[in-house]
């Protein structure tokens, strides 16, 4: 005989939780943001520290993947050179929808102190960016906060929305 028999009628309702499709899909999306390991410069050190045990990104569901096809969010950590620009675009195109981009650090945001001929002046010239994270380099707490803000942004989105026409291509 089952010891923990539930009396559905008596316990005030059936074990059913009501929610919206938006909420439950976004709950899933925002809590399993798999990030592409995109370390380009010193910001990558902070990104690696965020993934390691002290800051432990796994508890946010952020697991670093080495393949763009398994990744949801691209954390561009470091200076993007003009030579590398075509590859960041290619990797971005290879990521499956829905996808987001965090531009981490001054160099990725605006080119930073590298106001020279060989540096892309902000990754948003090449790929659309969802979240700009200032700092040089941002500490792991800051990246953690950026991921939390991105989660907030995702939770606000409707899953049925049309893919917005990106600024480029």
């Amino acid at each position: 005989m089952a010891q923990h028999q539930v009396n559905y009628a008596a316990s005030g309702g059936l074990p059913v939780a009501l929610t919206t499709v938006d909420k439950i899909v976004n709950w899933g999306r925002s809590n399993s943001l798999w990030a592409l390991t995109y370390g380009l410069a010193c910001c990558a050190i902070e990104m690696m520290a965020s993934g390691a045990s002290r800051y432990d990104f796994d508890r946010f569901g952020v697991i670093f993947r080495a393949s763009p096809r398994q990744a949801d969010v691209m954390i561009v950590a470091g200076t993007l050179t003009k030579k590398h620009a075509e590859f960041i675009r290619r990797l971005y195109d290879q990521m499956a929808e829905p996808k987001w981009v965090i531009s981490m650090g001054s160099c990725a945001n605006t080119g930073g102190m590298f106001n020279t001929y060989a540096t892309v002046q902000g990754v948003d010239r090449v790929i659309p960016v969802d979240l700009y994270l200032p700092g040089c380099a941002p500490r792991p707490e800051t990246l953690q906060y950026a991921v939390m803000l991105l989660q907030k942004k995702i939770r606000k989105q409707s899953i049925f929305q049309k893919q917005k026409p990106k600024r480029l291509v």
Partner: protein, 265 residues
């Protein structure tokens, strides 16, 4: 909104500030006979090669040669005189002054504990012979020299750019190359990824760090003059309630007024 652009066509000719009475300090050139080892070396070199000039500068022997004998001289220095390491190889842009590049080879002899610099001058359209058969480290250095200055190197095993992309236009370390890049450099990633017709959509690079978009109401451009979100930028700024600065930050603890709840614990 950009700052006025100063033409940077030729930085060497137009310095921002010139002191008419300032004379560039020259590092004194000493005679080769000052150093016994170098004197013996230069005797052997002169017996075999035709060198233009030789002197000691900062304790290092400098030999100025004709560029056509660079490989033979380096072979000789390596095998006969024991200068067995090529520390550095590059060029200096003297195009504005003399219409020439100066190519230098910095050598080190571990057995003698001496350094030697071989210098030669070549014209802009001239090529220089590769010293890769003498020193393997010259491979990448010569490629870098080509990448940065556009100096062609003959008989190099794998002669192409090393740092910049292969389809890059121009040679960045020349004095005539602008720091922010020429037109091809400024639009490089846009042209390559999206094509030239996307230049208008993306817009030019923002190179001025002090640039502010005055119509931007959502970021920090109007700090202190914030307008409600979504409102036009020239609408009435939001009045921010100032907080009471006279209020004490720390209040003194008054035992009689306070009620202590965990006294008996």
């Amino acid at each position: 909104m950009m700052r006025p652009y100063r033409p940077k066509d030729n930085v060497q000719k137009k310095a921002y500030y010139t002191d008419r009475f300032w004379i560039a300090p020259r590092i004194p050139e000493e005679d080769v006979s000052q150093d016994k080892v170098y004197a013996a070396d230069i005797e052997k070199i002169k017996a075999k090669f035709d060198i233009k000039k030789a002197y000691i500068q900062r304790g290092q022997l400098v030999v100025i040669i004709d560029p056509v004998i660079n490989k033979e001289l380096l072979f000789f220095l390596r095998d006969e005189l024991g200068y067995d390491m090529l520390m550095e190889l590059s060029a200096i842009d003297y195009l504005a002054q003399d219409g020439e590049f100066e190519v230098f080879y910095q050598l080190l002899s571990l057995s003698k504990r001496k350094r030697l610099r071989v210098k030669c001058r070549i014209k802009e359209d001239e090529a220089i012979e590769s010293v890769n058969p003498v020193f393997r480290s010259a491979d990448w250095s010569e490629r870098e020299m080509y990448d940065m200055f556009g100096i062609k190197v003959n008989n190099h095993p794998y002669f192409k750019r090393i740092l910049m992309p292969d389809d890059w236009v121009g040679y960045p370390l020349r004095k005539t190359y602008p720091l922010h890049g020429d037109e091809a450099a400024q639009w490089y990633e846009i042209d390559k990824i999206f094509g030239k017709e996307y230049r208008e959509i993306v817009g030019p690079e923002i190179r001025d760090a002090a640039w502010i978009d005055k119509t931007d109401t959502e970021q920090f451009a109007r700090y202190g003059h914030e307008v409600p979100k979504g409102a036009p930028y020239d609408s009435e700024p939001v009045k921010i309630d100032s907080f009471n600065e006279d209020a004490p930050l720390v209040e003194t603890f008054d035992l009689k007024k306070s009620k202590i709840v965990d006294r008996d614990r």
